[in-house]
C-alpha cells in the first residue's frame, strides 16, 4: 500500500517536473499539439504548477513590458563612418578574422593537407620508387657521366658504320692523286674527309642526343684547324686504328692507314665535347637517350636521390600544412 502510494507520488512528481521543465516554452507558445494538451490538463488539476506558471508569466511580462531606454542617438551610418576608418574597414575585410580570409585559409589548408596525405600515402605504398620521372632527372653526378659515355658509344658505333662510305670516297681521290705522292694533298683530302665525317656526325647526332649536336660543330672545328696547322707531321702521328683499317679493305696500305686514321680520329675528338659540357646540357640528354640505354642508367642512383626528394617534399608540405592549420585556427577564433 505504502509502496503503491510512493509509486503514485513519484509518477505525479515526475509529471510535475516534466511540466515545469516546459512551462517557459509553453508560455512562449513553443509547446504544441499533444504536449500542449497534456500540460494544460495537468495545470487544470495542479495548483502548484499553475502557480509556477503564473510566476513565470509574470517574469516574462516584466521583461517584455519593462520600460525601455530611449536610444541615445541615431545609429544611421554616415559616409564619414565608412570613409574615416576606410583603412580599418579594408584591414578588417582582409584581416584573419574576415569571412573571406577564413574561407581561403580553410581551402588552402585542406588542399595542402590532402596533398601531404597523398604524398605520404604514395611514399608509403612505394608509388614514387616506380612511377615518378622526377628522380630519373635528378642524377647529375656519376650517373650522368655514365650515361654520357653510353651516349658517346652509340654515336661512335654509328660513325663507324658510316665510315666505309667516307673512306671509299677518299680512297678514290687519293688513288687519283697517287701518282704524285704529295702528302700535302693527301692531308687536304683527309681534312676534307674529316670535315665530311664531322658533318655526318652532325647529321647523325641529333637523333640520339640533340644537345651534343650543338656542341659538336662549335667545338670540333678547332680540332680540324689543329690538324691543318699541324700539317703533315702532326696530323699522322698516331697509329691508325686497326679495325677501321680492316673495314676499308683493298686500297693502298698507306692511304688506308691514313684514311682510317682520319675516320677514326675525327670521331674521337667528337665525343670530347660531349663529355665536357655535361654539366649544363645534361638534363635533356638522359630523357632522350634513356630509351636507347634504359637498363642501367635510370635505375640505380636515382632511387636514393628520389627518395630524399620525396622526404624533403613531405617535410615541406607537412610543415606548410601545420602552419596553415595554425593560422586557420587563429582566424577561426576571430570569426564573428
Amino acid at each position: 500500500m505504502i509502496a503503491m502510494l510512493d509509486f503514485v507520488r513519484r509518477r505525479i512528481q515526475s509529471e510535475h517536473e516534466q511540466v515545469r521543465a516546459v512551462l517557459s516554452a509553453y508560455i512562449d507558445g513553443e509547446v504544441t499539439g499533444k504536449d500542449r494538451r497534456r500540460v494544460e490538463a495537468h495545470l487544470a488539476d495542479c495548483d502548484a504548477c499553475a502557480e509556477a506558471l503564473r510566476a513565470l508569466q509574470y517574469t516574462k511580462a516584466l521583461v517584455v513590458g519593462a520600460p525601455r531606454p530611449r536610444i541615445p542617438r541615431s545609429f544611421v551610418v554616415r559616409r564619414a563612418d565608412l570613409e574615416e576608418p576606410a583603412g580599418a574597414a579594408t584591414r578588417r575585410r582582409f584581416a584573419l578574422g574576415s569571412k573571406l580570409a577564413y574561407a581561403y585559409l580553410r581551402g588552402a589548408t585542406a588542399v595542402v593537407a590532402v596533398a601531404f596525405a597523398l604524398l605520404v600515402a604514395g611514399d608509403l605504398t612505394g608509388q614514387f620508387g616506380l612511377g615518378s620521372r622526377a628522380p630519373a632527372r635528378a642524377p647529375l653526378g656519376e650517373a650522368g657521366v655514365a650515361e654520357q659515355e653510353k651516349d658517346v658509344e652509340v654515336t661512335k658505333e654509328v660513325e663507324v658504320l658510316e665510315a666505309p662510305v667516307a673512306i671509299q670516297e677518299t680512297v678514290k681521290e687519293t688513288v687519283a692523286v697517287e701518282g704524285t705522292p704529295q702528302a700535302v694533298e693527301k692531308e687536304v683530302t683527309k681534312v676534307v674527309e674529316a670535315e665530311k665525317v664531322v658533318e655526318r656526325e652532325v647529321e647523325l647526332a641529333p637523333t640520339p642526343s640533340p644537345v651534343p649536336a650543338e656542341a659538336l660543330p662549335t667545338t670540333l672545328p678547332p680540332a680540324v684547324e689543329r690538324e691543318q696547322e699541324g700539317v703533315q707531321p702532326l696530323a699522322v702521328p698516331e697509329a691508325p686504328s686497326v679495325e677501321s683499317a680492316d673495314a676499308t679493305g683493298p686500297p693502298p696500305a698507306e692511304a688506308t692507314a691514313e684514311e682510317a686514321y682520319s675516320v677514326a680520329e675525327s670521331p674521337t675528338p667528337a665525343p670530347a665535347p660531349t663529355t665536357t659540357p655535361p654539366s649544363t646540357p645534361l638534363p635533356p640528354g638522359p630523357t632522350s637517350t634513356a630509351p636507347a640505354t634504359p637498363v642501367v642508367v635510370t635505375a640505380r642512383p636515382p632511387v636514393r636521390r628520389g627518395l630524399t626528394a620525396v622526404r624533403v617534399a613531405e617535410i615541406g608540405l607537412g610543415v606548410l600544412a601545420l602552419a596553415l592549420l595554425l593560422v586557420t585556427l587563429v582566424a577561426r577564433r576571430q570569426q564573428p
Binding site: 519593462a66 531606454p69 541615445p72 545609429f75 544611421v76
Partner: protein, 202 residues
C-alpha cells in the same frame, strides 16, 4: 516598416552600395537593436557602441546576406558585437550603475504605456533597474537568449539560428534564465514598485 517586399528592395539597394537605402533599414531596426544590446550589456554607452558597430558591420557585410529573416541576420551581428563588448568589459571592468538609469520612454509599439505621472515614471525606472539587475545575474548565453525572446520577440527557431545553437539548447537556456530571473524578482518583491509585484505572491 516596410512589409517584406519593401525591406527586400531596400536590402537589394543596400547591397548595390546604396547607403541611404541601408539607413532606412537602420532607422527601422535601431531601437530594437539598441534594446536588445541594452538588456544584454546593461550599459548605455556599451550598448550604443555595440549597436553602432553592428550597423557598420552589417553594412560592410550586407553582400553576404542571403535572404531569410533580415531581422535575425541583423540581430546575429548585434549579439556578436555585444559579445565583443562583454569580452572587452571583462578585460577592463567598469561597474557603472549610473548607466542603468532609464532616461526616457522608448517610442514604438513595444513600449508599454504605464501612465505618465512623475510617480509612475520613477516606478518605471525602479522596475527597469530591478529587471536589469536580475538579468545581470544570468550567464551571458542565457541573457542573450532571453533578450532575443522577450525583447526582440523572436521564436525559438529564430533564436537557435541567431545564436547558432540547437533548438533544445535555446529551450533550456530560456527555461533556466526565466526560472532564475523569477526567483530573483520574487526575492526582490519589496524593492519592486507595489503594482508590479506578483499579486498573490505571499
Amino acid at each position: 516598416m516596410p512589409p517584406g517586399a519593401d525591406e527586400q528592395a531596400l536590402i537589394a539597394s543596400a547591397q548595390q552600395g546604396d547607403l541611404d537605402a541601408f539607413n532606412q533599414l537602420v532607422i527601422h531596426y535601431q531601437t530594437l537593436a539598441y534594446h536588445v544590446a541594452y538588456r544584454i550589456l546593461s550599459d548605455a554607452d556599451a550598448s550604443a557602441d555595440a549597436t553602432q558597430d553592428a550597423f557598420l558591420r552589417a553594412y560592410q557585410a550586407i553582400g553576404q546576406y542571403r535572404g531569410g529573416s533580415f531581422k535575425a541576420w541583423l540581430l546575429r551581428i548585434v549579439t556578436n558585437t555585444c559579445y565583443d563588448q562583454l569580452r572587452a568589459k571583462k578585460r577592463r571592468p567598469t561597474a557603472s550603475l549610473e548607466a542603468l538609469l532609464v532616461t526616457d520612454p522608448a517610442p514604438g509599439p513595444s513600449f508599454v504605456d504605464w501612465g505618465e505621472s512623475p510617480e509612475a515614471y520613477t516606478e518605471r525606472q525602479e522596475l527597469s533597474r530591478a529587471i536589469q539587475a536580475g538579468l545581470n545575474t544570468l550567464p551571458s548565453d542565457q541573457r542573450v537568449a532571453l533578450a532575443l525572446c522577450d525583447v526582440a520577440g523572436m521564436n525559438y527557431q529564430e533564436i537557435a539560428e541567431v545564436t547558432r545553437v540547437s533548438l533544445g539548447t535555446v529551450k533550456s537556456r530560456i527555461s533556466r534564465a526565466r526560472a532564475k530571473l523569477r526567483d530573483y524578482l520574487l526575492g526582490q518583491q519589496e524593492l519592486l514598485p507595489a503594482r508590479y509585484r506578483l499579486r498573490d505572491g505571499t
